[in-house]
Protein backbone atom coordinates (compact mmCIF):
# COMPACT_ATOMS: atom_id res chain seq x y z
CA UNK A 1 0.00 0.00 0.00
CA UNK A 2 1.31 3.37 -0.96
CA UNK A 3 1.20 5.94 1.77
CA UNK A 4 1.68 9.54 0.76
CA UNK A 5 3.49 12.02 2.98
CA UNK A 6 0.33 14.07 3.31
CA UNK A 7 -1.62 11.04 4.54
CA UNK A 8 1.16 10.12 6.94
CA UNK A 9 1.23 13.64 8.28
CA UNK A 10 -2.52 13.68 8.66
CA UNK A 11 -2.53 10.31 10.39
CA UNK A 12 0.31 11.33 12.74
CA UNK A 13 -1.51 14.51 13.57
CA UNK A 14 -4.69 12.60 14.30
CA UNK A 15 -2.85 10.14 16.54
CA UNK A 16 -1.17 13.00 18.39
CA UNK A 17 -4.42 14.90 18.69
CA UNK A 18 -6.22 11.82 19.97
CA UNK A 19 -3.43 11.24 22.46
CA UNK A 20 -3.62 14.81 23.65
CA UNK A 21 -7.37 14.55 23.99
CA UNK A 22 -7.00 11.35 25.99
CA UNK A 23 -4.42 12.98 28.24
CA UNK A 24 -6.67 15.99 28.67
CA UNK A 25 -9.63 13.75 29.46
CA UNK A 26 -7.55 11.79 31.95
CA UNK A 27 -6.38 15.00 33.58
CA UNK A 28 -9.94 16.23 33.76
CA UNK A 29 -11.25 12.95 35.06
CA UNK A 30 -8.52 12.70 37.68
CA UNK A 31 -7.43 9.60 39.47
CA UNK A 32 -9.97 7.27 41.01
CA UNK A 33 -10.10 7.79 44.75
CA UNK A 34 -9.08 4.66 46.59
CA UNK A 35 -9.42 3.34 50.11
CA UNK A 36 -6.28 2.43 52.09
CA UNK A 37 -6.84 -1.18 51.03
CA UNK A 38 -6.75 -0.16 47.37
CA UNK A 39 -10.42 -0.53 46.49
CA UNK A 40 -12.06 2.30 44.56
CA UNK A 41 -13.62 4.67 47.08
CA UNK A 42 -17.11 5.51 45.90
CA UNK A 43 -17.83 7.68 48.94
CA UNK A 44 -19.30 11.05 48.11
CA UNK A 45 -22.47 12.77 47.01
CA UNK A 46 -23.67 11.77 43.57
CA UNK A 47 -26.50 12.40 41.17
CA UNK A 48 -27.52 11.26 37.71
CA UNK A 49 -28.06 13.93 35.06
CA UNK A 50 -30.95 12.49 33.10
CA UNK A 51 -34.66 12.98 32.62
CA UNK A 52 -35.17 9.24 32.40
CA UNK A 53 -37.05 9.32 35.68
CA UNK A 54 -40.01 10.52 33.61
CA UNK A 55 -39.67 7.53 31.31
CA UNK A 56 -36.67 5.23 30.96
CA UNK A 57 -37.52 4.60 27.29
CA UNK A 58 -36.80 7.24 24.62
CA UNK A 59 -39.62 9.74 24.48
CA UNK A 60 -40.63 13.16 23.14
CA UNK A 61 -41.76 16.05 25.31
CA UNK A 62 -45.40 15.90 26.33
CA UNK A 63 -48.09 17.28 28.59
CA UNK A 64 -47.74 16.58 32.27
CA UNK A 65 -50.48 16.20 34.88
CA UNK A 66 -52.91 19.04 35.57
CA UNK A 67 -51.88 21.29 32.65
CA UNK A 68 -54.65 23.79 33.45
CA UNK A 69 -53.26 24.40 36.94
CA UNK A 70 -49.55 23.86 36.32
CA UNK A 71 -48.96 24.79 32.70
CA UNK A 72 -45.45 24.10 31.49
CA UNK A 73 -44.11 23.41 35.00
CA UNK A 74 -45.61 19.93 34.96
CA UNK A 75 -44.70 19.14 31.34
CA UNK A 76 -42.53 16.11 30.62
CA UNK A 77 -39.18 16.90 28.96
CA UNK A 78 -37.88 14.72 26.13
CA UNK A 79 -35.24 12.11 26.88
CA UNK A 80 -32.91 9.85 24.95
CA UNK A 81 -33.79 7.20 27.50
CA UNK A 82 -31.41 4.95 29.37
CA UNK A 83 -32.56 1.51 28.17
CA UNK A 84 -29.97 -0.17 25.99
CA UNK A 85 -31.61 -0.98 22.67
CA UNK A 86 -34.35 1.53 23.33
CA UNK A 87 -37.28 -0.49 24.67
CA UNK A 88 -38.14 -2.78 27.56
CA UNK A 89 -38.83 -6.37 26.41
CA UNK A 90 -42.17 -6.87 28.14
CA UNK A 91 -44.11 -10.07 27.79
CA UNK A 92 -47.72 -9.64 26.76
CA UNK A 93 -49.10 -9.42 30.28
CA UNK A 94 -46.32 -7.10 31.38
CA UNK A 95 -46.98 -4.71 28.52
CA UNK A 96 -50.70 -4.72 29.19
CA UNK A 97 -50.05 -3.80 32.82
CA UNK A 98 -47.60 -1.09 31.79
CA UNK A 99 -50.26 0.44 29.55
CA UNK A 100 -52.79 0.38 32.37
CA UNK A 101 -50.27 2.01 34.67
CA UNK A 102 -49.41 4.64 32.08
CA UNK A 103 -53.03 5.59 31.55
CA UNK A 104 -53.28 6.79 35.17
CA UNK A 105 -49.61 7.19 35.97
CA UNK A 106 -49.80 10.30 38.10
CA UNK A 107 -52.23 8.70 40.54
CA UNK A 108 -50.69 5.25 40.51
CA UNK A 109 -46.99 6.13 40.63
CA UNK A 110 -45.69 5.04 44.06
CA UNK A 111 -43.58 8.20 44.21
CA UNK A 112 -46.70 10.37 44.19
CA UNK A 113 -47.41 8.75 47.55
CA UNK A 114 -43.81 9.23 48.70
CA UNK A 115 -43.18 5.51 48.74
CA UNK A 116 -39.58 4.35 48.48
CA UNK A 117 -38.50 4.10 44.83
CA UNK A 118 -36.63 0.79 44.81
CA UNK A 119 -33.63 -0.09 42.66
CA UNK A 120 -32.64 1.07 40.08
CA UNK A 121 -35.08 4.03 40.12
CA UNK A 122 -33.52 5.59 43.24
CA UNK A 123 -30.28 6.06 41.31
CA UNK A 124 -31.68 8.33 38.59
CA UNK A 125 -34.19 10.40 40.50
CA UNK A 126 -33.56 14.16 40.36
CA UNK A 127 -32.28 14.04 43.94
CA UNK A 128 -28.73 13.59 45.23
CA UNK A 129 -27.64 10.52 47.13
CA UNK A 130 -24.61 9.85 49.27
CA UNK A 131 -22.42 6.77 49.32
CA UNK A 132 -20.64 6.01 52.57
CA UNK A 133 -18.22 3.18 51.89
CA UNK A 134 -16.81 1.01 54.61
CA UNK A 135 -15.06 -2.32 54.25
CA UNK A 136 -17.93 -4.74 54.91
CA UNK A 137 -20.85 -2.55 53.98
CA UNK A 138 -21.64 0.34 51.70
CA UNK A 139 -24.47 2.58 52.82
CA UNK A 140 -26.34 4.45 50.11
CA UNK A 141 -28.41 7.28 51.57
CA UNK A 142 -30.96 8.70 49.15
CA UNK A 143 -32.36 12.14 49.85
CA UNK A 144 -35.76 11.21 48.42
CA UNK A 145 -37.92 9.78 51.19
CA UNK A 146 -34.84 8.70 53.14
CA UNK A 147 -34.79 5.59 51.02
CA UNK A 148 -31.60 4.14 52.39
CA UNK A 149 -30.01 0.78 51.72
CA UNK A 150 -27.19 -1.22 53.17
CA UNK A 151 -25.06 -3.05 50.58
CA UNK A 152 -23.33 -6.07 52.10
CA UNK A 153 -19.88 -6.58 50.57
CA UNK A 154 -18.46 -10.11 50.37
CA UNK A 155 -21.12 -11.46 52.71
CA UNK A 156 -23.12 -13.79 50.45
CA UNK A 157 -24.41 -15.65 53.49
CA UNK A 158 -26.63 -12.66 54.28
CA UNK A 159 -29.71 -13.29 52.22
CA UNK A 160 -32.96 -11.43 51.75
CA UNK A 161 -35.19 -12.29 54.72
CA UNK A 162 -38.35 -10.47 53.74
CA UNK A 163 -39.24 -8.42 50.69
CA UNK A 164 -38.43 -4.74 51.06
CA UNK A 165 -39.06 -1.58 49.07
CA UNK A 166 -35.32 -1.08 48.59
CA UNK A 167 -34.60 -4.80 48.37
CA UNK A 168 -31.61 -6.67 49.74
CA UNK A 169 -28.18 -5.91 48.29
CA UNK A 170 -25.20 -8.26 48.17
CA UNK A 171 -22.00 -7.07 46.51
CA UNK A 172 -18.49 -8.00 45.55
CA UNK A 173 -15.65 -6.25 43.80
CA UNK A 174 -14.76 -7.28 40.26
CA UNK A 175 -11.59 -5.32 39.61
CA UNK A 176 -12.62 -1.70 40.06
CA UNK A 177 -16.32 -2.44 39.62
CA UNK A 178 -18.68 -2.92 42.53
CA UNK A 179 -21.15 -5.56 41.42
CA UNK A 180 -24.37 -5.56 43.43
CA UNK A 181 -27.17 -8.09 43.26
CA UNK A 182 -30.46 -6.67 44.47
CA UNK A 183 -33.16 -9.20 45.30
CA UNK A 184 -36.27 -9.31 47.44
CA UNK A 185 -37.79 -6.11 46.13
CA UNK A 186 -41.46 -5.36 46.60
CA UNK A 187 -43.39 -5.62 43.36
CA UNK A 188 -44.92 -2.21 44.05
CA UNK A 189 -42.04 -0.06 42.83
CA UNK A 190 -41.85 1.34 39.30
CA UNK A 191 -38.98 2.35 37.06
CA UNK A 192 -40.32 5.80 36.19
CA UNK A 193 -43.38 8.01 35.99
CA UNK A 194 -44.55 6.26 32.83
CA UNK A 195 -45.78 3.08 34.50
CA UNK A 196 -42.84 0.81 33.68
CA UNK A 197 -42.92 -1.93 36.29
CA UNK A 198 -41.73 -5.37 37.40
CA UNK A 199 -42.79 -8.27 39.62
CA UNK A 200 -41.53 -9.53 42.98
CA UNK A 201 -39.25 -11.95 41.12
CA UNK A 202 -37.03 -9.23 39.71
CA UNK A 203 -33.33 -9.45 40.39
CA UNK A 204 -31.22 -6.42 39.53
CA UNK A 205 -27.51 -6.68 38.91
CA UNK A 206 -25.88 -3.29 39.33
CA UNK A 207 -22.39 -2.44 38.19
CA UNK A 208 -20.80 0.68 39.65
CA UNK A 209 -17.56 1.50 37.79
CA UNK A 210 -15.62 4.66 38.63
CA UNK A 211 -14.42 6.36 35.44
CA UNK A 212 -12.37 9.05 37.12
CA UNK A 213 -12.45 11.16 40.24
CA UNK A 214 -15.89 12.57 39.63
CA UNK A 215 -18.03 10.17 37.71
CA UNK A 216 -19.23 6.60 37.86
CA UNK A 217 -20.57 4.56 34.99
CA UNK A 218 -23.69 2.85 36.28
CA UNK A 219 -25.33 -0.18 34.73
CA UNK A 220 -28.26 -2.23 35.93
CA UNK A 221 -29.55 -5.42 34.36
CA UNK A 222 -33.10 -6.47 35.18
CA UNK A 223 -34.09 -10.13 35.13
CA UNK A 224 -37.73 -10.98 35.78
CA UNK A 225 -39.29 -13.82 33.82
CA UNK A 226 -42.71 -12.87 35.17
CA UNK A 227 -42.64 -9.57 33.35
CA UNK A 228 -39.96 -9.55 30.65
CA UNK A 229 -39.08 -11.87 27.80
CA UNK A 230 -35.35 -11.28 28.34
CA UNK A 231 -33.02 -9.47 30.71
CA UNK A 232 -32.59 -5.78 29.83
CA UNK A 233 -30.18 -3.12 30.85
CA UNK A 234 -30.03 0.58 31.70
CA UNK A 235 -26.79 2.53 31.74
CA UNK A 236 -25.88 6.14 32.43
CA UNK A 237 -23.15 8.15 34.10
CA UNK A 238 -23.51 9.40 37.65
CA UNK A 239 -21.74 12.62 38.59
CA UNK A 240 -20.14 13.72 41.83
CA UNK A 241 -21.30 16.94 43.46
CA UNK A 242 -17.98 18.74 43.60
CA UNK A 243 -19.10 21.72 45.69
CA UNK A 244 -17.25 21.10 48.93
CA UNK A 245 -20.19 22.52 50.89
CA UNK A 246 -22.63 20.09 49.34
CA UNK A 247 -24.58 17.95 51.74
CA UNK A 248 -27.76 15.93 51.67
CA UNK A 249 -30.77 17.62 53.15
CA UNK A 250 -34.05 16.16 54.31
CA UNK A 251 -36.92 15.34 52.01
CA UNK A 252 -39.32 13.59 54.35
CA UNK A 253 -42.05 13.64 51.77
CA UNK A 254 -44.51 11.56 53.81
CA UNK A 255 -45.74 14.89 55.12
CA UNK A 256 -46.27 16.28 51.62
CA UNK A 257 -48.17 13.23 50.41
CA UNK A 258 -50.70 13.22 53.22
CA UNK A 259 -53.31 15.29 51.43
CA UNK A 260 -53.04 13.06 48.36
CA UNK A 261 -53.38 9.92 50.46
CA UNK A 262 -55.78 10.99 53.19
CA UNK A 263 -57.39 14.21 51.95
CA UNK A 264 -60.72 12.55 51.16
CA UNK A 265 -61.04 11.68 54.85
CA UNK A 266 -60.19 15.16 56.12
CA UNK A 267 -62.93 16.88 58.08
CA UNK A 268 -64.51 19.48 55.87
CA UNK A 269 -63.11 22.95 56.43
CA UNK A 270 -60.04 21.75 58.32
CA UNK A 271 -56.85 23.45 57.16
CA UNK A 272 -53.99 21.51 55.61
CA UNK A 273 -50.73 21.51 57.53
CA UNK A 274 -49.59 23.26 60.66
CA UNK A 275 -50.19 26.97 61.31
CA UNK A 276 -47.38 29.17 59.98
Amino acid sequence: MKITFTKLLSTSFLIMATGLLSLTAAAQNGEIARTPSGKPDLSGIWQAMTTAHYNVEPHAASYGPHPRQMGATSAVPASLGIVEGGGIPYNEQGRRQRDLNKADAHNLDPLTKCYMPGIPRANYLPFPFQIIQSTDVVLVAYEFAESNRIVYVDQPELESQVDAWMGHSNAYWEGDTLVVSVSGQMENTWFDRAGNHHSYQMVVEERWTPMGANHIQYEATMTDANTFTAPWKVSFPIYRHVDENMQLLEFKCAEFSEEFLYGEFRKEGTPIGNPE
Binding site: K113, I132, L139, A141, N148, A164, M166, Y262, R266
Partner: protein
Protein backbone atom coordinates in the same frame (compact mmCIF):
# COMPACT_ATOMS: atom_id res chain seq x y z
CA UNK B 1 -34.53 -18.06 75.90
CA UNK B 2 -37.78 -16.29 76.68
CA UNK B 3 -37.91 -12.59 77.50
CA UNK B 4 -38.34 -13.15 81.19
CA UNK B 5 -35.24 -15.32 81.41
CA UNK B 6 -33.41 -12.89 79.21
CA UNK B 7 -34.20 -10.09 81.61
CA UNK B 8 -33.03 -12.11 84.59
CA UNK B 9 -29.90 -13.19 82.77
CA UNK B 10 -29.17 -9.60 81.79
CA UNK B 11 -29.74 -8.35 85.27
CA UNK B 12 -27.60 -10.98 86.92
CA UNK B 13 -24.91 -10.34 84.37
CA UNK B 14 -25.05 -6.69 85.24
CA UNK B 15 -24.69 -7.57 88.94
CA UNK B 16 -21.20 -8.73 88.16
CA UNK B 17 -20.55 -5.45 86.44
CA UNK B 18 -17.43 -4.71 88.47
CA UNK B 19 -15.73 -7.85 87.24
CA UNK B 20 -16.85 -7.12 83.69
CA UNK B 21 -15.62 -3.58 83.94
CA UNK B 22 -12.21 -4.78 85.04
CA UNK B 23 -11.91 -7.15 82.15
CA UNK B 24 -13.17 -4.44 79.82
CA UNK B 25 -10.46 -2.10 81.05
CA UNK B 26 -8.09 -4.19 78.95
CA UNK B 27 -10.33 -3.88 75.94
CA UNK B 28 -8.64 -2.28 72.97
CA UNK B 29 -11.01 -0.49 70.67
CA UNK B 30 -10.52 -1.72 67.10
CA UNK B 31 -9.76 0.90 64.51
CA UNK B 32 -11.08 1.36 61.01
CA UNK B 33 -8.84 1.47 57.98
CA UNK B 34 -8.78 5.23 58.46
CA UNK B 35 -7.48 4.91 62.02
CA UNK B 36 -10.76 5.86 63.68
CA UNK B 37 -12.30 3.99 66.61
CA UNK B 38 -14.45 1.35 65.00
CA UNK B 39 -18.04 1.74 66.15
CA UNK B 40 -19.55 -0.05 63.22
CA UNK B 41 -22.26 -2.64 63.41
CA UNK B 42 -25.85 -3.04 64.49
CA UNK B 43 -26.60 -1.90 68.03
CA UNK B 44 -29.64 -2.31 70.26
CA UNK B 45 -30.57 0.29 72.85
CA UNK B 46 -33.47 -1.48 74.54
CA UNK B 47 -33.66 -0.87 78.23
CA UNK B 48 -35.75 -1.50 81.30
CA UNK B 49 -34.03 1.30 83.18
CA UNK B 50 -36.24 4.34 83.74
CA UNK B 51 -35.20 7.56 82.04
CA UNK B 52 -35.82 9.54 85.21
CA UNK B 53 -34.61 8.27 88.55
CA UNK B 54 -37.26 7.33 91.11
CA UNK B 55 -37.03 9.95 93.84
CA UNK B 56 -36.34 7.35 96.52
CA UNK B 57 -32.86 6.80 95.08
CA UNK B 58 -31.77 10.43 95.44
CA UNK B 59 -28.33 10.93 93.88
CA UNK B 60 -27.60 7.19 93.79
CA UNK B 61 -26.54 6.49 90.20
CA UNK B 62 -26.35 2.67 90.43
CA UNK B 63 -28.61 0.19 92.19
CA UNK B 64 -27.26 -2.06 94.91
CA UNK B 65 -27.43 -5.84 94.61
CA UNK B 66 -30.40 -5.87 97.00
CA UNK B 67 -32.23 -3.26 94.98
CA UNK B 68 -31.66 -5.20 91.78
CA UNK B 69 -32.98 -8.38 93.39
CA UNK B 70 -36.01 -6.43 94.54
CA UNK B 71 -36.54 -5.16 91.00
CA UNK B 72 -36.29 -8.73 89.68
CA UNK B 73 -38.88 -9.91 92.18
CA UNK B 74 -41.26 -7.15 91.16
CA UNK B 75 -40.69 -7.93 87.52
CA UNK B 76 -41.45 -11.61 88.08
CA UNK B 77 -44.62 -10.77 89.95
CA UNK B 78 -45.81 -8.59 87.10
CA UNK B 79 -44.86 -11.23 84.52
CA UNK B 80 -46.69 -13.95 86.44
CA UNK B 81 -49.82 -11.79 86.59
CA UNK B 82 -49.61 -11.16 82.84
CA UNK B 83 -49.09 -14.87 82.19
CA UNK B 84 -52.15 -15.72 84.27
CA UNK B 85 -54.29 -13.35 82.22
CA UNK B 86 -52.90 -14.78 78.99
CA UNK B 87 -53.56 -18.34 80.20
CA UNK B 88 -57.15 -17.44 80.99
CA UNK B 89 -57.60 -16.20 77.44
CA UNK B 90 -56.25 -19.49 76.12
CA UNK B 91 -58.79 -21.38 78.20
CA UNK B 92 -61.61 -19.13 77.05
CA UNK B 93 -60.67 -17.09 73.97
CA UNK B 94 -64.12 -15.53 73.90
CA UNK B 95 -63.84 -14.10 77.38
CA UNK B 96 -64.52 -10.35 77.27
CA UNK B 97 -61.65 -8.07 78.06
CA UNK B 98 -61.74 -6.21 81.32
CA UNK B 99 -62.10 -2.97 79.39
CA UNK B 100 -63.26 -1.82 75.99
CA UNK B 101 -59.69 -0.97 75.06
CA UNK B 102 -58.34 -3.68 72.75
CA UNK B 103 -54.78 -2.68 73.61
CA UNK B 104 -51.99 -1.73 71.30
CA UNK B 105 -49.17 -4.20 71.60
CA UNK B 106 -48.66 -7.58 73.22
CA UNK B 107 -45.42 -9.15 74.42
CA UNK B 108 -44.47 -10.13 70.89
CA UNK B 109 -43.68 -6.49 70.18
CA UNK B 110 -42.24 -5.28 73.42
CA UNK B 111 -38.55 -4.83 74.04
CA UNK B 112 -38.89 -3.23 77.44
CA UNK B 113 -36.78 -5.87 79.10
CA UNK B 114 -33.23 -4.77 78.70
CA UNK B 115 -30.54 -6.51 76.79
CA UNK B 116 -27.68 -4.52 78.26
CA UNK B 117 -26.59 -3.00 81.51
CA UNK B 118 -29.52 -2.76 83.89
CA UNK B 119 -28.10 -1.58 87.19
CA UNK B 120 -28.35 2.14 86.63
CA UNK B 121 -31.08 3.72 88.68
CA UNK B 122 -31.88 6.01 85.73
CA UNK B 123 -30.55 6.91 82.33
CA UNK B 124 -30.37 10.58 83.29
CA UNK B 125 -27.10 11.23 85.09
CA UNK B 126 -27.27 15.03 85.06
CA UNK B 127 -28.79 16.81 86.91
CA UNK B 128 -27.27 14.66 89.60
CA UNK B 129 -30.61 13.61 91.03
CA UNK B 130 -31.41 11.94 87.72
CA UNK B 131 -34.52 14.06 87.27
CA UNK B 132 -35.61 16.28 84.42
CA UNK B 133 -34.87 19.89 85.44
CA UNK B 134 -37.56 22.53 85.75
CA UNK B 135 -39.00 23.85 82.54
CA UNK B 136 -38.69 27.47 81.55
CA UNK B 137 -41.88 29.39 82.20
CA UNK B 138 -44.04 29.38 79.11
CA UNK B 139 -42.32 26.42 77.46
CA UNK B 140 -45.04 24.48 75.63
CA UNK B 141 -46.18 21.16 77.04
CA UNK B 142 -48.17 18.59 75.17
CA UNK B 143 -49.06 15.07 76.23
CA UNK B 144 -49.77 12.15 73.94
CA UNK B 145 -50.20 8.46 74.59
CA UNK B 146 -52.17 5.39 73.62
CA UNK B 147 -55.29 6.54 75.44
CA UNK B 148 -58.06 8.85 74.24
CA UNK B 149 -57.10 12.01 72.37
CA UNK B 150 -56.25 15.02 74.49
CA UNK B 151 -57.52 18.16 72.72
CA UNK B 152 -54.82 20.71 72.01
CA UNK B 153 -53.66 22.88 69.12
CA UNK B 154 -51.39 22.17 66.17
CA UNK B 155 -48.57 21.51 65.70
CA UNK B 156 -48.60 18.12 67.38
CA UNK B 157 -45.01 17.71 68.49
CA UNK B 158 -45.23 14.40 70.32
CA UNK B 159 -44.97 11.04 68.63
CA UNK B 160 -47.87 8.83 69.76
CA UNK B 161 -51.51 9.78 70.20
CA UNK B 162 -53.33 12.80 68.90
CA UNK B 163 -55.23 15.98 69.63
CA UNK B 164 -58.14 15.14 67.30
CA UNK B 165 -58.91 13.26 64.07
CA UNK B 166 -59.84 16.08 61.71
CA UNK B 167 -56.73 15.58 59.57
CA UNK B 168 -53.41 13.72 59.66
CA UNK B 169 -51.72 16.74 61.24
CA UNK B 170 -53.78 16.09 64.39
CA UNK B 171 -51.95 12.84 65.00
CA UNK B 172 -48.57 12.16 66.58
CA UNK B 173 -45.46 12.27 64.44
CA UNK B 174 -44.82 8.53 64.54
CA UNK B 175 -48.43 7.82 63.60
CA UNK B 176 -47.72 9.99 60.55
CA UNK B 177 -44.45 8.09 59.95
CA UNK B 178 -42.46 11.33 59.93
CA UNK B 179 -40.27 10.48 62.90
CA UNK B 180 -40.36 7.40 65.09
CA UNK B 181 -40.81 7.24 68.83
CA UNK B 182 -37.20 6.10 69.12
CA UNK B 183 -35.65 7.27 65.85
CA UNK B 184 -34.04 10.19 67.62
CA UNK B 185 -31.99 12.13 67.93
CA UNK B 186 -31.48 11.55 70.78
CA UNK B 187 -32.18 7.83 70.92
CA UNK B 188 -34.62 7.00 73.69
CA UNK B 189 -35.33 3.34 74.45
CA UNK B 190 -38.92 2.55 73.61
CA UNK B 191 -41.32 -0.27 72.83
CA UNK B 192 -39.63 -1.93 69.88
CA UNK B 193 -37.16 -1.53 67.02
CA UNK B 194 -34.52 -0.05 69.29
CA UNK B 195 -31.91 -0.78 66.66
CA UNK B 196 -29.42 1.32 64.76
CA UNK B 197 -26.45 0.74 62.52
CA UNK B 198 -23.29 2.81 62.47
CA UNK B 199 -21.21 3.05 59.30
CA UNK B 200 -17.96 5.00 59.10
CA UNK B 201 -15.87 6.25 56.21
CA UNK B 202 -12.97 8.64 55.89
CA UNK B 203 -14.85 11.87 56.49
CA UNK B 204 -18.35 10.74 57.41
CA UNK B 205 -20.15 8.68 60.00
CA UNK B 206 -23.75 7.59 59.57
CA UNK B 207 -26.16 6.59 62.27
CA UNK B 208 -29.06 4.78 60.68
CA UNK B 209 -32.06 3.80 62.75
CA UNK B 210 -34.29 0.90 61.92
CA UNK B 211 -37.28 2.96 62.97
CA UNK B 212 -38.32 5.20 60.02
CA UNK B 213 -35.04 4.22 58.25
CA UNK B 214 -33.47 7.55 59.15
CA UNK B 215 -29.81 7.77 58.09
CA UNK B 216 -28.32 10.72 59.93
CA UNK B 217 -25.13 11.76 58.19
CA UNK B 218 -22.46 13.15 60.48
CA UNK B 219 -19.91 15.35 58.72
CA UNK B 220 -16.46 14.92 60.24
CA UNK B 221 -14.59 17.55 58.24
CA UNK B 222 -14.64 21.33 58.23
CA UNK B 223 -17.89 21.70 56.39
CA UNK B 224 -19.39 25.09 57.26
CA UNK B 225 -22.50 25.33 59.38
CA UNK B 226 -25.82 25.02 57.65
CA UNK B 227 -27.81 28.19 57.07
CA UNK B 228 -30.16 28.81 59.97
CA UNK B 229 -33.12 28.89 57.58
CA UNK B 230 -32.56 25.25 56.71
CA UNK B 231 -34.19 23.36 59.53
CA UNK B 232 -34.65 19.62 59.68
CA UNK B 233 -36.64 17.04 61.59
CA UNK B 234 -33.42 15.25 62.59
CA UNK B 235 -31.22 18.34 62.75
CA UNK B 236 -27.86 18.91 61.12
CA UNK B 237 -24.96 16.93 62.57
CA UNK B 238 -21.25 17.69 62.74
CA UNK B 239 -18.81 15.37 64.45
CA UNK B 240 -15.26 14.61 65.47
CA UNK B 241 -13.33 11.91 67.28
CA UNK B 242 -12.23 12.59 70.84
CA UNK B 243 -9.88 9.68 71.51
CA UNK B 244 -12.05 6.58 71.24
CA UNK B 245 -15.27 8.57 71.26
CA UNK B 246 -17.31 9.85 68.34
CA UNK B 247 -18.72 13.21 69.38
CA UNK B 248 -21.71 14.53 67.41
CA UNK B 249 -23.18 18.00 67.74
CA UNK B 250 -26.57 18.57 66.18
CA UNK B 251 -28.66 21.69 65.72
CA UNK B 252 -30.93 23.32 63.10
CA UNK B 253 -33.90 21.40 64.40
CA UNK B 254 -37.21 22.52 62.95
CA UNK B 255 -39.05 23.22 66.20
CA UNK B 256 -41.79 20.75 65.28
CA UNK B 257 -40.64 18.17 67.82
CA UNK B 258 -40.56 18.35 71.58
CA UNK B 259 -37.25 18.93 73.26
CA UNK B 260 -37.68 16.25 75.94
CA UNK B 261 -40.21 14.76 78.30
CA UNK B 262 -43.35 16.20 76.67
CA UNK B 263 -41.91 19.69 76.91
CA UNK B 264 -40.66 22.39 74.57
CA UNK B 265 -40.20 22.92 70.86
CA UNK B 266 -36.73 21.88 69.81
CA UNK B 267 -35.86 24.83 67.53
CA UNK B 268 -33.11 26.10 69.83
CA UNK B 269 -31.92 22.73 71.04
CA UNK B 270 -28.26 21.84 70.71
CA UNK B 271 -27.73 18.14 71.12
CA UNK B 272 -24.34 16.64 71.90
CA UNK B 273 -23.95 12.89 71.62
CA UNK B 274 -20.95 10.76 72.54
CA UNK B 275 -20.55 7.21 71.23
CA UNK B 276 -17.84 5.31 73.11
CA UNK B 277 -17.07 1.66 72.51
CA UNK B 278 -16.26 0.09 75.86
CA UNK B 279 -16.34 -3.59 74.88
CA UNK B 280 -16.75 -5.77 71.83
CA UNK B 281 -20.46 -5.86 72.47
CA UNK B 282 -21.08 -2.46 74.09
CA UNK B 283 -21.18 1.17 73.07
CA UNK B 284 -21.97 3.71 75.75
CA UNK B 285 -24.28 6.29 74.24
CA UNK B 286 -24.36 9.58 76.11
CA UNK B 287 -26.41 12.57 75.10
CA UNK B 288 -26.70 16.10 76.43
CA UNK B 289 -29.66 18.33 75.67
CA UNK B 290 -29.05 22.05 75.90
CA UNK B 291 -32.18 24.08 75.22
CA UNK B 292 -32.34 27.24 77.33
CA UNK B 293 -35.73 28.14 75.88
CA UNK B 294 -37.20 24.94 77.35
CA UNK B 295 -35.25 23.82 80.42
CA UNK B 296 -33.45 25.71 83.17
CA UNK B 297 -30.52 23.29 83.06
CA UNK B 298 -28.88 20.83 80.72
CA UNK B 299 -29.88 17.17 80.67
CA UNK B 300 -27.36 14.36 80.24
CA UNK B 301 -28.28 10.70 79.94
CA UNK B 302 -26.37 7.48 79.31
CA UNK B 303 -27.91 4.58 77.40
CA UNK B 304 -25.81 1.45 76.81
CA UNK B 305 -26.06 -0.14 73.39
CA UNK B 306 -25.55 -3.86 72.86
CA UNK B 307 -24.09 -5.32 69.68
CA UNK B 308 -26.43 -7.45 67.62
CA UNK B 309 -25.33 -10.12 65.19
CA UNK B 310 -28.06 -9.29 62.74
CA UNK B 311 -29.28 -7.00 60.04
CA UNK B 312 -31.38 -3.89 60.22
CA UNK B 313 -34.75 -4.46 58.61
CA UNK B 314 -36.57 -1.96 56.45
CA UNK B 315 -39.25 -0.32 58.57
CA UNK B 316 -41.53 0.91 55.78
CA UNK B 317 -43.88 2.80 58.08
CA UNK B 318 -45.38 5.25 55.61
CA UNK B 319 -45.83 2.65 52.89
CA UNK B 320 -47.91 0.52 55.25
CA UNK B 321 -49.75 3.26 57.09
CA UNK B 322 -53.24 1.83 56.79
CA UNK B 323 -53.82 3.04 60.32
CA UNK B 324 -54.03 6.68 59.31
CA UNK B 325 -56.69 5.97 56.70
CA UNK B 326 -58.74 4.00 59.18
CA UNK B 327 -58.38 6.56 61.98
CA UNK B 328 -59.66 9.38 59.78
CA UNK B 329 -62.27 7.39 57.91
CA UNK B 330 -63.60 5.91 61.13
CA UNK B 331 -64.00 9.35 62.63
CA UNK B 332 -65.83 10.65 59.55
CA UNK B 333 -68.18 7.68 59.69
CA UNK B 334 -68.88 8.30 63.37
CA UNK B 335 -69.64 11.93 62.60
CA UNK B 336 -71.91 10.95 59.75
CA UNK B 337 -73.84 8.44 61.80
CA UNK B 338 -74.14 10.86 64.69
CA UNK B 339 -75.53 13.46 62.28
CA UNK B 340 -78.05 10.90 61.08
CA UNK B 341 -79.11 10.30 64.66
CA UNK B 342 -77.48 6.93 65.07
CA UNK B 343 -74.30 5.68 66.57
CA UNK B 344 -71.77 2.98 65.85
Amino acid sequence: MNLKNLFIFSTLTALSGVALAQSDADYEVPITEYGQPDLQGVWNFSSNTPMQRPKKYGNQEFLTREQVEEAIAQQETRAAAADAIAAQRVVNPDAPDATDNPGGYNDFWLEVRGLGETVRSSHIVYPLDGRVPAAVEGAPRQYGGLGPDIPSTRPVRYVVGGIAKAGPEDRGLSERCIVGFNSGPPFLPSLYNNNLQIVQSKDTAVIMTEMIHDARIVHLGDKPELDENITLWSGDSRGYYDGDTLVVETKNFNGLRQTFNSTGANKDMILTERFTRTAFDNVDYEFTIDDPSTFTDKITAIVPMTKLAGQIYEYACHEGNYGMVNILRGERMEEQRAAEGGSL
